[in-house]
């Protein structure tokens, strides 16, 4: 009997390792032979630990499984009569409604089996790129309409062409896997669940732009992802997919807890062994990037999507989507939401569909009050804006951003003045210190917000925060200072009642 248990860090965090051990122990006790395959997660986190059993009718899922459930699962012979029986995972509405392109293999294959990877169409993208040649590979990516999934949304094909057209003795591909936004975990899932797709994507990028060296910059908060990626690189080298023969080397570099290193230029400085401070642009990293050489800095999800684009053709990918947002986005439902998980779908779903229908409302069962879209620098959306379609431009038009695809749901117990204060506090904590608006404005904003919460000269202080936000937005060197106004101003605009409540005065006095 073959059983599948996720090794994803979030599944482990809720007991997947204990389940794997319990399954082995029970099998031994019963004298049964079982093979336990550790996979990535399917991304249905409210059902984790979710295990699957191989049957002639396909895989059958059970979850959420606690160690105490294991004997009964064996007693029921992993059949439909067990109360945790979920049926075929592909038939679960949350998965059935998805269009899995980037995450096609995640949760299904053994992340460290190249044989599994190939058996599930892995490797076809790089093969096709090689047969097309570098220039046509870039054309294919441009045709797909793929835009940077880190949040900036810059067209990947255009970035690659810029690097390819810049003459240099040495070029680099850098994968930005410094996924620091709260509410996002897609990079982590793909690195832990399907590392070879990222390696393939980077190899394609290297081939297309003429780079022989790639770096994957992973945040230190992701030790599991670091381990899996490093092991996957060794396995790929052993088969000649990386290394001298492939004319492409990959190396993992681990961050050190600085959020700002998710900003591409500060990431490059960090890779160079410096303080992770933001560089002024121009020059663009595509012209002068890592060690002053032309560099393609791409988000992990952008790179992990490239193999499928090459394999299936750019037009097939571009056929999906909404407006100028083409293809699919792995949307991450997080926080106080009933069905928290990764939902990959073509752009265009409304925020209401995502949160109320797919997410199933809050985990607490209370009404949804606010949704922060796009991480700590993203706006808080009230229910009144739930008709916003999932699209880079539509979110921008409502003074928000889709960012890296996170949606953090809050119920009606949230205090939006506290959330606005937190946004400024976070900016102060993580500012690299290079530009004044971010370094000082964040602290000043936090102090002013404290006065508002205490009820001191509310109108004047709110005007001051608004003025400060304008300075942050237009005068900061990067998105940390530049986008902090989004959560702050959206909280003030959409939830003004929270900035003038007597109970806040009492709470602040604590």
């Amino acid at each position: 009997m073959r059983l599948f248990v996720p090794r994803d860090a979030a599944a482990r965090a809720v007991g997947a390792d204990r389940i794997a051990m319990a399954l082995e122990a029970e099998a031994r006790r019963l004298g049964r032979t079982v093979e336990i395959v550790r996979t990535g997660s399917r991304g249905l986190f409210w059902l984790e630990p979710m295990i699957e059993v191989e049957t002639p009718a396909g895989r059958i899922a059970f979850g959420p499984v606690m160690p105490g459930d294991v004997p009964a699962l064996f007693a029921a012979d992993f059949g439909a009569r067990h109360p945790l029986h979920l049926g075929r995972p592909e038939e679960l509405p949350f998965l059935k409604r998805q269009t899995r392109i980037t995450f096609a293999r995640c949760g299904i294959t053994d992340p460290l089996s190249l044989a599994d990877y190939r058996a599930h169409s892995g490797g076809r993208g790089l093969e096709r790129a090689k047969s097309l040649g570098a220039a046509k590979t870039i054309e294919e990516v441009t045709k797909s309409g793929l835009r940077g999934r880190g949040g900036a949304g810059f067209p990947t094909g255009i970035k690659w062409k810029t690097v390819a057209d810049t003459a240099a003795d040495r070029k680099y591909v850098v994968c930005n896997a410094d996924e620091g936004d709260s509410g996002t975990y897609a990079d982590r899932m793909i690195m832990e669940g399907d590392p070879f797709v990222l390696i393939e994507g980077m190899a394609i990028a290297g081939f297309a732009i003429g780079a022989t060296k790639g770096y994957i910059y992973i945040r230190s908060e992701y030790p599991d992802a670091v381990r899996v990626m490093e092991r996957a690189i060794v396995l790929a080298e052993a088969e000649g997919l990386l290394g001298a023969e492939a004319k492409f080397d990959l190396e993992v570099r681990v961050g050190a807890g600085a959020y700002v290193c998710g900003e591409e230029t500060s990431l490059l400085d960090s890779l160079e062994g410096k303080r992770g401070q933001v560089r002024a642009k121009p020059p663009l990293p595509a012209h002068k990037g890592l060690f002053g050489k032309p560099t393609a800095v791409n988000n992990a999800i952008s790179l992990a999507t490239v193999p499928a684009i090459l394999a299936e053709g750019g037009e097939a990918y571009a056929a999906l989507g909404f407006g100028r947002s083409r293809g699919t986005m792995p949307i991450q439902l997080a926080g106080n939401v009933k069905h928290a998980g990764l939902f990959e779908a073509p752009f265009g779903l409304s925020l209401g569909e995502l949160v109320d229908e797919i997410g199933g409302g809050t985990h607490s069962g209370r009404p949804v009050r606010a949704v922060q879209a796009g991480g700590p620098l993203g706006a808080y959306f009230p229910r009144a804006l739930f008709d916003t379609p999932y699209d880079y431009e539509a979110y921008a038009a409502r003074d928000g951003l889709i960012g890296h695809g996170g949606l953090v749901v809050f119920d009606d117990t949230v205090d939006m003045a506290r959330q606005a204060r937190f946004a400024l506090e976070f900016c102060a904590l993580e500012s690299c210190g290079k530009c004044t608006p971010c370094r000082l404005g964040s602290v000043r904003g936090m102090e002013t917000m404290d006065r508002i919460i205490r009820g001191e000269r509310r109108e004047a202080n709110l005007a001051l925060v608004e003025d400060l936000c304008r300075t942050l937005k237009f005068a900061s060197l990067c998105a940390l200072g530049g986008f902090t106004p989004y959560p702050v101003m959206s909280a003030i605009r959409h939830f003004p009642e929270d900035f003038n409540r007597p109970r806040l005065t009492a709470a602040a006095a604590e």
Binding site: E221, Q277, E430
Partner: protein, 155 residues
């Protein structure tokens, strides 16, 4: 489990990264893994070995939240304080943890058994609130998790 500062080990670490481009962060990580922190001695040593100024090395080591000048407690608990965990009552759990162990953020218990640090996102946002104990992920934290942490660190 950490070694006391010694130059032989430090030199070994620097040699390990010979030929690497921009090796300072990997070196600092390895120093901290070996000595439990990046001691002042390490800053001077790295500077002279890499032909950098002490100011440059100190500037880098002090920029990143991860690097410490003093070793932490025997166990390290990183509690997430970011938005997704806030939305699931993470601050209340954090308050319980700090109270139970009698420490503030960044503090170490008097017996040196545990250091509690704030972190901003562990990518476990679909199972919030979350934490990491000695590098192992924990999620859906509640009172039972706090008790499990206490047991694990022997308090």
């Amino acid at each position: 489990m950490f070694l006391a500062w010694n130059e032989a080990q430090a030199l070994e670490i620097i040699r390990r990264h010979d030929g690497r481009e921009g090796p300072l962060l990997p070196i600092l990580h390895d120093m901290q893994a070996m000595f439990g922190c990046v001691p002042v001695e390490a800053v001077s040593f790295i500077a002279s070995a890499m032909n950098l100024t002490r100011a440059e090395v100190h500037g880098v080591a002090s920029f990143y939240h991860d690097f410490r000048e003093q070793p932490a407690g025997r166990h390290m608990l990183k509690l997430c304080r970011a938005e997704a965990c806030q939305s699931m009552g993470g601050e209340a759990v954090a308050a319980k943890v700090l109270k139970q162990f009698g420490v503030g953020w960044g503090g170490t218990t008097a017996d040196g058994s545990l250091t509690v640090e704030a972190t901003y996102c562990l990518g476990l946002c679909a199972c919030a609130p979350s934490a990491m104990l000695d590098g192992e992920p924990m999620a859906r934290l509640d009172q039972a998790s706090v008790d499990a942490i206490a047991q694990e660190v022997g308090r």
